[in-house]
């Protein structure tokens, strides 16, 4: 048979190519450069991310594209509004994470600088691939490209034992979850005859029970990445042991990446008539995630561990929107809005936590927040605002996120799930407000260490959270344009 090359347009996937390419450039620089010049690493990666961001914006203004189209087949890469939105989300996460890492790595005595930023860039390129993949194989490659650098980054504070332990746990459990994902891929391929999402959706019903098993296994693999109950076991230990900068990056990037692929698969690879089956499963997982995350967070004494459980709970809120996917036209845009607000709020909270943290992984207990308002009123107020946003108080970004997610769940007639969501949000106020209580009701002393990069990151996160809280319309419209076309058709027809 004559081979014909697939139609490829590199300009469309240029954002990913730039990010991964800059990762390679950092690798070469690390080989060639003297030690003094390695300090350039973060600036080079920032430059790469800004370039990729500009290209993403240029593409976004132009509409949506498809590329890597085999002859007579379906495109492997679809860069639509949904993918543009996620690409921007990952690029901003990367920029904020790099700004936070620069002072943090010095404070924590982690000297493997160039490697750190190189791994960060590769991880971001994997996340971006997950948003634009239109093929189960590409989703798997994106997931591995996202995960493998993260495993190493968790352990980069070597020889601190907690960091090594976190890397080992994340690696072993993550590899296990990837196994589920690949097995699911194989079963779906066997049942439907293709890995391309448009073909999978056509033959899904004919695939019968094997297709459903494959889908379930794919969901297990992705649920692990987003830390949904009952696949959340790794989250607290890994988040606590990893360097805080990595925890911040991972709690947003890996989670959002997992959801990017999960929503794409559920909206485009599964036909409408099977919706009652998988939405029930997702709704139950969401309820369990909400309850466990919010309730167990109450008993934590370490703030990183507390935020780990809180991030599990936030995954539950996003899962609520996922469960509403086939029944509500706004479900995708609701989950996108939630992820946007979660990204800024969580990264901002972690930035303040990194400023309070002392070298050697000290200063991360809730006790250490006693009297923060006396030590630095501004930082205490900013952290309090982020905590309010994580609860979902009005006039914060978190409120808008929770509002649209609950609305989508009600649209989809998931009243019981919405009630669980509201009640657990009220429960979450207890442990978030405890931090505020500690900060303002006790005396404390000692100065905080400030650095321009960390302040920039905090300011950006704060301004964005405020902007979403006070002017939600703009962001909601943005998320709505980024919604999946097929999903709107599903819910409408």
């Amino acid at each position: 048979m004559e081979f014909q090359a697939p139609a490829i347009n590199i300009a469309i996937i240029l954002p990913v190519v730039i990010v991964a390419g800059f990762g390679l450039v950092l690798m070469i620089l690390d080989m060639l450069m003297e030690d003094e010049l390695r300090g350039l690493g973060p600036w080079i990666s920032l430059g790469g991310l800004v370039l990729a961001g500009l290209q993403t914006i240029a593409l976004w203004l132009g509409g949506s594209y498809e590329t890597f189209i085999p002859v007579g087949g379906h495109p492997m890469v679809v860069v639509d509004g949904y993918a543009h939105f996620f690409n921007m989300l990952f690029i901003i996460t990367g920029i904020l994470a790099i700004l936070m890492s620069m002072p943090y790595l010095i404070k924590a005595d982690i000297d493997e600088k160039a490697e750190y930023y190189m791994l960060l860039m590769f991880s971001i390129s994997g996340m971006m691939l997950m948003g634009m993949a239109n093929d189960l194989l590409l989703i798997f490659i994106g997931l591995e490209l996202l995960s493998i650098p993260l495993y190493v980054m968790c352990g980069i504070a070597r020889p601190r034992e907690a960091s090594e332990e976190s890397a080992m746990k994340y690696f072993l459990l993550g590899a296990f979850a990837s196994g589920f994902l690949v097995f699911g891929l194989a079963l779906l391929y066997g049942a439907t005859g293709s890995t391309a999402l448009p073909v999978v959706v056509e033959n899904f019903t004919a695939g019968g029970v094997i297709a459903y098993t494959g889908l379930a296994m794919q969901l297990v693999g992705l649920a692990f990445k987003v830390g949904a109950v009952p696949f959340h076991m790794w989250t607290p230990d890994v988040y606590e042991g990893a360097p805080t900068a990595v925890t911040a990056f991972m709690s947003v990037g890996a989670k959002v990446g997992g959801f990017a692929a999960m929503i794409r698969i559920l909206a485009e690879a599964v036909p409408q008539e099977s919706a009652p089956i998988w939405t029930t499963a997702i709704a139950i997982i969401a309820a369990a995630t909400l309850i466990l995350g919010n309730v167990v967070a109450i008993s934590q004494t370490n703030i990183k561990r507390m935020l780990a459980y809180s991030s599990i709970a936030h995954g539950g809120y996003i899962l609520m929107a996922v469960a509403a996917l086939p029944f509500s036209g706004d479900a995708v845009s609701a989950s996108l809005t939630y992820m946007l607000t979660y990204m800024f709020t969580n990264l901002g909270a972690f930035a303040v936590i990194m400023m309070v943290e002392k070298s050697g992984n000290r200063g991360v207990l809730l006790e250490d927040y006693k009297g923060l308002s006396k030590r630095n009123l501004g930082m205490a107020l900013i952290l309090a605002y982020f905590m309010f946003s994580l609860i979902g108080m009005p006039l914060t970004g978190g409120f808008i996120g929770k509002f649209v997610v609950f609305q989508a769940a009600i649209d989809a007639n998931l009243i019981w799930l919405t009630i669980i969501g509201v009640v657990t949000a009220a429960v979450s106020a207890y442990y978030y407000l405890r931090v505020v209580f500690y900060m303002f009701m006790f005396d404390g002393q000692g100065d905080l260490e400030f650095s321009p990069a960390m302040m920039t990151a905090t300011t950006v996160a704060l301004v964005a959270t405020l902007a979403i809280g006070f002017f939600p319309g703009l962001w909601l419209n943005l998320a709505r344009t980024a919604s999946l076309a097929s999903q709107l058709l599903m819910a409408g027809g």
Partner: protein, 122 residues
């Protein structure tokens, strides 16, 4: 739901069931009915064989893992280049370009590993 194509596997399932049943039954019978007269030599890992020199869970150098990881990298390299080599003429310039990009990325990683001292044994 389509179950027709599963029908040929019914004998296999029956065989599996019988095998599982026997595999469980015989040890249970042997454990519950057999006589037990344990003593030191009998309880050793290799009964009437070599005397054990130590525990199996020993620490051993991480160098072996580094080599193992490198082996996996080259292994995957071969797995991906091999199909290209087989279909070399059909794939033409497109295939050549794709493989060259792949090898270039791979070589950067190799050089980096080399520079980091991954190929040195001591």
């Amino acid at each position: 739901m389509n179950v027709d194509y599963l029908m040929p596997y019914v004998p296999v399932a029956v065989l599996l069931g019988i095998a599982l049943f026997l595999a469980l039954l015989l040890p249970i019978l042997s454990v519950s009915l057999g006589p037990k007269r344990p003593h030191f030599r009998k309880m050793q890992p290799y009964e009437s064989g070599m005397t054990a020199v130590g525990k199996a869970q020993r620490r051993y150098p991480v160098k072996f893992y580094r080599v193992a990881v490198l082996f996996i990298l080259f292994d995957i390299d071969i797995i991906l280049i091999m199909p290209w080599a087989v279909a070399l003429r059909d794939l033409g310039l497109f295939g050549l370009g794709a493989v060259m990009i792949f090898i270039a990325i791979f070589i950067i990683g190799d050089l980096w590993a080399w520079k980091k001292g991954l190929l040195e044994w001591d």
